[in-house]
Amino acid sequence: MRKVACIGAGMTLFRRRLQETPKEMCWEAARMALDQAGLEIGDVDAVVFGSAPDAFDGIHMKGENVLDACGGIGRPYVRVFTGGGTGVFSPIAAYWHVASGLFDCVLVVNEEKMSSCQPHPQSVFGHIWDPILDRPLKPNLVWIFAMEMNRYMTVHNVRYEDVAAVAVKNKRNAVGHPCAQLADPHITVEDVMNSEVMAWPVHRLDISPPSDGASALVVCSEEFARTHRIESPVWFAGVGWNIDTTFWTDRDLYFPEYLANAAKIAYKQARITDPRRQIDFAEPYDPFDYKELHHMEGLGLCKKGEAPRLTREGVTQRDGDLPTCPSGGLLGVGNPIAATMGIKVGELYLQLSGQAGQRQIPHEVRTGVTNAWGDLMQFSSVVVMRA
């Protein structure tokens, strides 16, 4: 099998509202990734685009609309879509473009412009539910998080302050990220616990913000990296993805089995048998603070119900034994759904190539894992990367 590398990353600021159009954001991120890899668009053989619901940007077939800004004219160009899981899934699609032998160099661009949607980006999430079973109840997206969080906390007897500690860690970590929307060096667990209740047990500061933003990666074959004298390629070691039933009310929400499946597939490819020992740091998807804990358990980085204790003991701090969300995560940097690629797979690339600047994990790291999560609490994508 061909080895596949990530050799460049770019991203825009993540902000509640950006002036740039979806096309302009895509172009900025794409140009930046190419610059970082030292390439021009002519070096790119194919383009993969990732984005979440069309309704945010307010364009049907939005992948078609932005393709010029992604370098897609005259190139094989495709958009993949797995809801919130897209942020880590479009790089997987780029991986198979290269690993198949069909392409040598692929540009991945992910974009989300949530501020276009009025009156509030949340309104879009009204349409992600089953039209017969769920939509008549006028559900808010926060409900499903609240229901999952409550189930998880009840089954494992988790204290709320241990969940809030994740939000504090990530918002503090984000201080080192130049694109961050909600970095806060002084935030405390009390701040999170005292923020207003949105849908109990979810408080306002448990949630990542809606954001505008774009990110891009350059993915290539081993030979391409060699002939273009790329200095510090970071390698895809394993990829996996998995989906559970649409009938989410038929599942026990306390544990993400689909994520465990996706991780198992990725770990097999990466020859990882003991994730806690063989993985040096993690960027689990953290749109809500409890999701980091949920995902650490799904990724097999600890036993079921053990993640809150690791957080409490400081193991997941940037200088801890298992740094988790050193980027600042979605909670700190922002959540332009698919564009979070820049702080998930993008952060793996930057950390493993020693380019994370202020955010660089102080000890040597050689293997990292990330995941994203989407659809109706039912899908996960996993990428393992090595220096």
Binding site: N65, P76, W96, N242, D244, T245, Q378
Partner: protein, 383 residues
Amino acid sequence: MRVGIVGVGVVPFRTVTPEYSWKEIMYEAAQRAYADAGVDPRADVGSFVTCAEDYWEGFGIFDEFTPDQLGAVLRPACTVTGDGIHGLAQAMMQIQAGLADVVVVEAHSKVSDLLTYAGVVHHAFDPIWNKPLGGHPYYVAGLEMDAYLRASRVGEKACAAVVAKNRQNALTNPRAAHGSKVTPEDVLASPPISAPLKDLDVAPLADTSIVLVLAAESRARKLAANPVWIRGVGWSSDSPWLETRSWTTAAYAAMAGKMAYAQAKIRNPAKEVEVAEIDDKFSYKEPQHLEALGLSKKGSTANAISRGDFDIGAKLPVNPSGGSIGCGNVIEASGLHRVAEVVLQLRGEAGQNQVDHPRTGLAASWRGIPTATGAVAVLGVGR
């Protein structure tokens, strides 16, 4: 590594399918494909791909609503927001990358659930430059038809003959929804939509679901006596800007064709391709795509059409299935439908519409207005 198609499932096209939910129509196609391939989706399939766009379906994230009916629960599955041949290409690459041995591709149309088809097509227009202009979105097809006819010497009569041929072919295709005896004169006399585009130049909508089962070469040989091989796949896009794209030639089809021909080592497509299923969402698209794909020489297409060179008994039968005009426009499923029809032709299972022993076939798709995106698959049997 070669990838073969070992299973085909098609739900016969119909204008409305009130008895099925979108899940149930997909389940129907999946069952047929798995039975055809002799696979158990719960045990044998490594990955599933669905081709869908949210606004066609009326969902925020349609990917949520796909796994159960395909047998994909707790398995790798994803959505490609593209035409069925885009999905086919992703599935093929997953196999070649070693991620799975057997991959399932699904595409469907439940467009009868959509009450405002024109409104949704219009929603794909650029929000700043084109949306404010309003109008029925098919004016873009009128503009393109006008530009193409002027540049190509293909006339409205030739386009009308394409409609008559495809409607006729559909009469004997049990999967088609819109077969009928239509004369070129009927087409020319039908009411204008956006001149020169007329009512009968437009492929009517239909519902269906299509499922294909793909397998790596070694698995394919075990699963099927005579697998149909994917010899090449190409996909490409011209500019999304209406203002700057090529109107007279289908540049996306030419680029996608070039890519697929290179993989298939086809140098002279007009000689080597023996059956073609080409996008005809509008009548003029068939000759325009034929020229872009090198299957008909520019300048001679009108004559070839009037001679009947693309009829079922001729040297290069084009859209023997009846195409979108005869079977129905099934939006993102259009490309996968054409692949399915070519597979049946290459297997010799196309019934009354069977072409004489083809060994190489081609399927080409276009994502429709307002896109300039298309995909091409070259398929073959034998060594």
